[in-house]
């Protein structure tokens, strides 16, 4: 009996690091195939020694492959386990390996997209962006550290999980856990998206003045009757804090009226309009440019 070849932790770390470059040669023909082969090279190098074996292994792994770049990790783990068994003489053919890859990439992409692109990225991104807009360097640092900590630990942990579980992982994941994660991410995602729309889509109709009412005396600060100097400033502040208006005329804008109805309503309507246009297959870029044009026109007309 020949000695069994085992992949060491060092090999697996090396594969994990290389999986960072999975999408490097993304192409329209076989998508992530080049990066996939590149990622597995440290393992293949250890497992196969002859030129024929190596050539076969590389050809096998240059087949079509495409999934979410982070959830590729559990698939890599499973593939490592399969290749290890194959190199040790188990009857695993190319079709099995390709079958496992294709079988896992679809469902897992269905988890990776909502979890990473629709939930984690908007939340971390919005948090970092709101800090950065106020000029804080913490924003970008926070984004970089949090994002990469989540990503790198997820990729390492799931690759190990895949390697240890071997082909069993597909069964494990196709059960309830996978669906729960996807559904949970969609719920959280929808919740946060709605919140972001309310907070960050700004549609402001303050330029439109609905009414301008002259207020009764005593309801506003009478600037001509204030004492001069610091005493006057103090008196004005005292009067304002007791609820007096700063101006003689009470101006109500269209925005004030909308805010009384539902704050953020216009933002919501704009979002729904965008969703409708996207469903009609209007390119997002066209919509973006259209909104800029709309903004300029409305500003020139004095509406916004």
């Amino acid at each position: 009996m020949v000695d069994q070849i085992k992949l060491s932790k060092k090999d697996r770390i090396s594969v994990w690091w290389r999986s960072t470059f999975l999408q490097g040669s993304w192409n329209y023909e076989r998508m992530q195939n080049g990066g996939w082969a590149f990622t597995l090279i440290p393992a293949l190098k250890k497992l196969y020694k002859t030129k024929e074996e190596r050539s076969e292994a590389l050809t096998r792994h240059l087949e079509f492959f495409n999934t979410h770049p982070y959830v590729a990790s559990p698939i890599i783990g499973v593939t490592l386990a399969l290749e290890e068994e194959k190199a040790n003489g188990a009857p695993i053919d190319d079709v099995t390996i390709q079958g496992v890859k294709v079988g896992m990439m679809g469902p897992l992409a269905g988890v990776g997209d909502p979890v990473f692109w629709y939930t984690v990225k908007p939340i971390v991104g919005a948090l970092a962006a709101s800090l950065a807009i106020s000029g804080s360097i913490i924003g970008p640092i926070l984004y970089f550290v949090v994002w990469n900590a989540i990503r790198m630990s997820f990729m390492w942990y799931t690759q190990e999980l895949g390697y240890k579980a071997g082909s069993k992982i597909t069964e494990d994941l196709s059960g309830g856990i996978l669906q729960d994660i996807t559904k949970g991410a969609s719920i959280l995602g929808m919740f946060i998206l709605a919140a972001l729309i309310e907070r960050w889509v700004t549609v402001d109709f303050s330029a439109v003045k609905i009414s301008s009412i002259k207020q009764s005396s005593g309801a506003y600060i009478d600037w001509s009757k204030l004492p001069s100097g610091a005493a006057g400033i103090k008196e004005a502040l005292v009067q304002q804090s007791s609820g007096l208006s700063l101006t003689e005329y009470k101006v109500t804008t269209l925005q004030d009226n909308l805010n009384q109805l539902i704050p953020g309503l216009a933002a919501l309507l704009i979002t729904f309009l965008c969703m409708w246009l996207l469903k009609k297959n209007v390119s997002p870029i066209v919509i973006i440019l259209g909104l800029f044009v709309f903004g300029v026109v409305m500003h020139v007309l004095g509406v916004m």
Binding site: T20, F21, G24, S25, W26, Y28, E29, N33, G34, A37, F38, L44, K51, R54, S55, L58, L62, P69, A109, D113, W117, Y118, K121, G125, A126, A128, S130, A132, S134, G135, G139, P140, Y143, F144, W147, K183, G184, S186, M190, F191, I192, L193, A194, A195, L196, E198, V201, T202, G264, A267, I270, T271, C274, P284, I285, L289, F292, G295, H299, V300
Partner: protein, 270 residues
Amino acid sequence: MNLSMIQIILVVLVAFLAGMEGILDEFHFHQPVIACTLVGLVTGQLLPCVILGGSLQMIALGWSNIGAAVAPDAALASIASAIILVLGGQGRAGVSSAIAIAIPLAVAGLLLTIITRTLATGIVHFMDGAAKEGSFRKIEFWQIVAICLQGLRIAIPAALILALGAGPVKSLLSSMPSWLTDGLSIGGGMVVAVGYAMVINMMASREVWPFFILGFVFAAISEITLIGLGAIGISIALIYLTLSKKGGNSNGDGGSSNTGDPVGDLIDKY
């Protein structure tokens, strides 16, 4: 403002990094909040670039490469608009017009991405050849070449803008009338919605719409911070998952076990 030779080299390096990440999508050097900050860092104009990065990040939140679809290119948009902001020398005042410039750049970047991804198709055919020889080194070589192509995709346009210099960029920016820049920043407040709309279209189902309404209403309470909203969202998701599982168990078994006891149902199943 004029940049020194070292600064120019560093900016091009940052651009190269962002270009690589534009396809890799791992470290996220191409995300506006990071890319603009890095450009600001190496040119010594940190503050305006951080603000630009934050604003662009808000617009780009929903931009992601899904399947074979290519999102508007955040990498070129952030790098080029940050360079223009720095060269224009207007500091914070230049941010809103830099945002407006970023959008057409995202389209241009999209086209460049498609071209590069098509070129990569040729590269994987070289890899096929390398695989026949069983040569690991050649596969690795072509993979690195492909990644570098993606880096050059952003580095070359960045170098072009730098070569053009501050003069033309500045005169272009100052020739923009205020009604145009103000209008563009109003438009910038609305375009954020497009990214969100893309994501909602992907995610929405009858089941999750109520959570959208909840999120919208909670956000109107301005005292709750974004972190607070996140915590509420996570709790609601967990509660819903737990409850729906409990409901599913007792309904699923039909008449045989309407005891309402989940443990009992489990025992019956096995």
